[in-house]
Amino acid sequence: MGTIEVDGLRKVFSVRERARGLGGAVRQLFSAPSREVRAVDGLTFRIEKGERVAFVGPNGAGKSTTIKMLTGILHPSGGAARVLGLVPWEKRRELAYRFGTVFGQRTQLWYHLPAADTFALLRHVYDRDVTDHKRRLTELVEAFEIGPFLNKPVRQLSLGQRMRCEIAASLLHDPEVLFLDEPTIGLDVNARAIIRDLIRDTSRERGVTVLLTSHDTGDMERVCDRVIVINHGKLLLDESILSLRQTYIRRKRVTLVTASERVDIDLPGVTVAERAPHRTVFEVDLEVTPVDVVVQAALRAGKLRDLTVEDPPMEEIVQAIYAGR
């Protein structure tokens, strides 16, 4: 049995058509045509225990809607799903003891109170034993380094501090599955890195299964081993991050730092992406010229001080998948 099993899951919303202008608004008062929007359209996948899966797609792809069905918030229009062997919308409360959620756009922390107060309340929400609760809280306070601001009202915390408390809150009851919907939204680079490490380390140490949605491909690279890409509610791709790179990487970036001020490589499929004195970045089309040929040419081109070969950013890879390339 998979930890998360989704089979032909569908969610259709009925959306009112908005008429233009004042006349349209008045007509709409008496008759408003509606149309069906298929937010999730026959999605099928399976996630095993301890896997960390990125759920990726553009805005409106159906990522959040899927997570909301898997957590029992929304009832599906069709298809089936099981989380830890339970149908989420039928056994919502039973299941809720076993998963944690972080919705980056919402909070479960009380805004005017310190996070410590919410943590105390969560003990009652999840019917936790006092000793277990204290032990877990101590572990999380240490791991997430939230001790210094645990007793400060949440409204006075930075977004990064708040999100650390938010994730700690979602892990207090020792969940087996963690659903994260845009957990790094709005965070700066440092805060993002901290949050990513915390999620990955917690999952590794405790075998927590993670399903994470994000627009930030860095989240999926740093946290997850597998990626599911959806668009218009349909599955576009389901494979490991490694395999994704191998399949979709058709370009590489070669950066040369040289003793000479300027260096050129005259090969088909090799273009200059950036140029500065002593530093040149080439973009290599691997279908035209293999990267080892470019490296050999670089060695001949001038006195080399440094050479780096990089994959393109994950953002480009995902865009290529959306574009069907």
């Binding site: 919303f13 959040s64 809607t65 909301k68 957590t71 029992g72 918030i73 929304l74 009832h75 919502r92 409360r93 039973e94 809720a96 003891y97 998963f99 959620t101 919705f103 756009q105 919402r106 909070t107 479960q108 922390l109 009380w110 805004y111 005017h112 109170l113 107060d117 919410t118 105390a120 309340l121 003990r123 009652h124 929400v125 999840y126 019917d127 009202p153 409204r155």
Partner: protein, 261 residues
């Protein structure tokens, strides 16, 4: 059961801490609500200076009505303040947080907010009960039960009207108007309403169960009246649960950014 009581207690305690966190706002709202209740009562004071009674009701009876109304409304605002914003919570998709927790959603959402103004209502209720002269040490348990029944019916009717948001979307203003109707009728002697209006006040706008019957209990109505009031609790409580559960199946969530205040 013990866990449920502990959860509800912890929820209310957290709420109270949240509503008292901003000290200035807490005292301002409490004091103004206290003053506000007595401003309305002045009208009846002036009235009974000229006329001795209204269909058998005199000034102490009016004080009892105002005491019950303030007690019912104030308690509801302190322990179940979330009900007053339930329609907005539904429309903006803010039920998500409650739905991912293993507790009854309705209980969690109504208990998720405490209004400081409720303390002003409760304080004025205590003063009004003392002034009306009906309450004796022996009748206190009856009075408290009557207040609890009125409070539950008030919260249940608010749940029913706010739950219309599951079907009609933005119904917050409609729900607020309904509750103002309810409170406006609830602050009059029951004897001034006759015929269909009286029927309506024991059905569609249940002012009868919110204040009329509890006031009768306060005035010495005894067990039978109290049982009738508790009957209202069962009917309106069940109806609220049914409507909310039916609506929950239509819940559409949302993507708004939000905080939990």
């Amino acid at each position: 059961m013990k866990a449920a009581v502990q959860y509800f207690g912890a929820m209310i305690a957290t709420n109270l801490r949240a509503s008292m966190a901003l000290r200035g706002a807490f005292w301002t709202r409490t004091i103004f609500m206290f003053i506000n209740n007595f401003i309305y009562l002045v009208m009846w004071w002036v009235f009974f200076d000229e006329f001795s009674e209204v269909r058998g009701w005199m000034l102490p009876d009016m004080l009892a009505i105002y005491a019950v109304a303030a007690g019912v409304f104030g308690t509801a605002m302190i322990v179940a303040g979330g009900v007053m914003t339930l329609a907005r919570t539904i429309v903006q998709g803010d039920l998500d947080t409650f739905l991912t927790q293993p507790k009854p959603v309705l209980l969690a959402v109504v208990a998720s907010r405490s209004e400081a103004s409720g303390w002003g209502d409760v304080a004025s209720a205590v003063v009004l009960f003392a002034l009306c002269g009906y309450v004796t040490p022996a009748s206190i348990p009856f009075v408290l039960l009557a207040l609890a029944s009125g409070c539950i019916v008030f919260v249940a009717s608010a749940v029913i009207f706010h739950s219309l948001a599951f079907w009609l979307k933005d119904t917050e203003a409609l729900s607020r108007h309904f509750l103002h109707f309810l409170l406006a009728y609830a602050a009059f002697p029951k004897t001034v309403f006759l015929g269909w209006l009286k029927v309506a006040l024991f059905t569609v706008i249940p002012a009868g169960f919110v204040t009329f019957l509890p006031v009768d209990v306060v005035r010495g109505g005894g067990w039978k009246v109290l049982l009738a009031a508790l009957g209202g609790v069962v009917i309106y409580g069940s109806l609220a649960l049914l409507v909310f559960r039916a609506g929950l199946r239509r819940y559409e969530s949302g993507n708004r950014f939000g905080v939990r205040a």
